[in-house]
């Protein structure tokens, strides 16, 4: 079996006096979409931020394609091929859409074929190419946030709740774009509260509770088992 793209082994993260992650074990297989699921406040966002180096792991080990990145600074992790999409539409509002994208292409000028591919996934970005990113709508900002990660081929994408608070039409656009990213062979660790989207996109799933991964397996298995969903995440039929 090949080395997973990302592996977390017994990762602990403290924020101030709070112990948020209490020994997270997690794997993201190469070229797969791994869903990170769980109730609010169980440590999903902290897990992503620990991988990218925003929060420093106080214990355990994180490896990217076999390389230990536990103590690496955030920019080095990013340049090692990790694209991060934060949950709060992490764009630079004062810059134009074009400037946001140029900034994200850290290894050189934007590849035009790649840009066309991004435009095909998110057409509004082409329309508002020269506009200030701060003037975009919420959905367009989220598109820009994901497009920025997509503009260069990364080894791993960490995406935090890309459909949160978006209109159904925009959610569909997001899901389509993520499917394209998946088809491109990307390894993705995706935090998603929308279970329908998670079921549609995920290959594998890890469910967190109280700072630990309490269940890991195939997304299809979790999607089929209503009792398991209820037990792990408290999902009711309505939520599904």
């Amino acid at each position: 079996m090949s080395e997973p793209m990302l592996r977390l082994e017994g990762v602990f993260t403290n924020i101030a006096q709070y112990h948020i992650l209490r020994g997270v074990d997690l794997e993201v297989p190469r070229g797969r979409v791994s869903m990170l699921l769980g109730r609010n406040g169980v440590g999903k966002t902290t897990t992503l931020r620990t991988v990218i180096g925003h929060w420093r792991a106080h214990g355990g080990r994180i490896t990217l394609d076999g390389q230990d990145i536990t103590a690496m600074p955030t920019p080095a992790i990013a340049r090692a091929g990790v694209g991060f999409v934060p949950e709060d539409m992490g764009i630079f509002a004062d810059l134009t859409v074009e400037e946001n994208m140029v900034l994200a292409a850290v290894s050189g000028p934007i590849d035009s074929a790649r840009l066309d591919w991004v435009f095909s996934a998110f057409p509004p970005l082409k329309t508002f190419w020269k506009s200030a990113a701060g003037n975009l709508s919420g959905g367009q900002k989220q598109m820009l946030s994901i497009a920025r990660a997509m503009i260069e081929k990364r080894r791993l994408y960490l995406i935090d709740e890309p459909t949160k608070g978006l209109a159904p039409a925009i959610v569909a656009t997001m899901a389509r774009a993520l499917r394209e990213l998946k088809a491109d062979g990307a390894s993705i660790l995706l935090v998603e509260q929308n279970f329908a989207v998670a079921k549609a996109l995920g290959d594998t799933a890890s469910v967190m509770d109280d700072g630990r991964v309490v269940w890991s397996g195939a997304m299809a298995e979790l999607g089929r088992d209503a009792d398991l969903q209820e037990r792990l995440m408290g999902l009711s039929m309505e939520a599904r």
Partner: protein, 350 residues
């Protein structure tokens, strides 16, 4: 024109017109407004445009608060004074003094930046305040080298002295070394301003803006925030030092009150706020308005006070001695009506 301005157009007709008027007025100041005081005001505007623009590179683009900008300004000015004093009156002394001043300022900014910007930008503000105060005291104490509180008076190359004549007169203005030194200051300031404009509109400038907005997001893309902040600080310090060098060449004198005082630091902050942060054109507008107010508000109020003589209260309110009060009122009003600075307001209202 777009290439000269590095693609950063004024984006407002009124702003473009104001900038053009200021440029023409400064370019032709010795001919349009002949007189020692008016030309001195024009030269001060040129110097302060660069000084404020260099500060805006740090504050407006990098989000870094510094209280040591006058220290860098002073280092450049003292560089010229010390080089001219020890090497004699020659252009080589000016080049060495300006170059050494810019290098020393950059080196000091590098040391302060590496020590403080690694942690949090606010520490940089506190450390710059301490270092600037220490340098000001040091300059006053090392009187053997710096002239202490009296400062240093020095001679510039003969070609830049008022006694040097290179013709009779043009449009009634004497063609002498003072005219040459004005154009040296004007052209030097223009080149430095355009270079700063190029810096903020380069990919480096975009990264700085991204860092100002959210440093973690910039790091998550792959940019080493501390390197960019330190580089911006060094560039800004060098530009401030070169502005100080131009000022010293113009005055042929340096002293702690003239180039190192905290008052200048406050003036710079006011000019940045009035003009508008995060835009180089704000430096032009802020410096011009502020220096003009500093130089002419007192006289204007004296005249106004004379006009309303006999009216109760008004002559006292408009007394020339109260010019600082009115400058304060103008500042409060400008912040109230132009919270994004004059340039921000003009660009919004285009």
């Amino acid at each position: 024109m777009r290439a000269v301005l590095s693609g950063d157009m004024p984006r407002s007709r009124v702003l473009a017109l104001i900038l053009a008027v200021i440029l023409v007025a400064l370019a032709l100041a010795p001919f349009l407004f002949p007189g020692v005081r008016t030309v001195d005001t024009a030269a001060r505007i040129c110097v302060f445009v660069v000084l404020v623009a260099s500060y805006d590179l740090m504050l407006g683009y990098g989000g870094i608060v510094s209280f040591a900008h006058t220290m860098f300004f002073g280092i450049g000015a003292y560089g010229i004074a010390l080089a001219s004093t020890h090497m004699g009156r020659g252009f080589d002394a000016l080049i060495v003094g300006a170059g050494a001043g810019a290098l020393v300022a950059a080196a000091l900014a590098l040391v302060i930046g590496l020590f403080s910007l690694r942690v949090r930008a606010i520490f940089f503000a506190m450390i710059t305040l301490a270092v600037a105060s220490a340098v000001a005291v040091l300059v006053s104490q090392l009187s053997g080298l710096t002239g202490g509180e009296d400062g240093l008076t020095f001679q510039t190359p003969r070609a830049l002295s008022p006694a040097f004549r290179f013709g009779d007169s043009l449009l009634g203005v004497k063609l002498n070394g003072k005219l040459l030194v004005y154009y040296l200051v004007f052209v030097g300031a223009l080149i430095l301003f355009l270079l700063l404009l190029r810096v903020v509109n380069s990919p480096f400038g975009r990264v700085l803006q991204a860092i100002r907005e959210n440093d973690f997001r910039a790091e998550a893309i792959g940019y080493r925030v501390v390197y960019y902040r330190v580089a911006a600080t060094c560039l800004s310090a060098s530009a401030a030092a070169l502005a100080g060098s131009l000022y010293a060449i113009w005055l042929r004198y340096v002293g702690p009150d003239t180039v190192l005082s905290m008052e200048i630091m406050i003036d710079i902050l006011l000019m940045v706020v009035i003009g508008g942060m995060g835009t180089m054109y704000g430096a032009v507008i802020g410096a011009t308005l502020f220096v003009l107010a500093q130089n002419y508000l007192q006289a204007l109020m004296g005249s106004a006070s004379g006009l309303v003589e006999g009216v109760p209260v008004l002559p006292q309110l408009l007394s020339a001695d109260r010019w600082l009060l009115w400058l304060g009122v103008l500042f409060v009003l400008s912040v109230y009506f132009f919270p994004t600075g004059v340039v921000g307001r003009l660009r919004q209202g285009r």
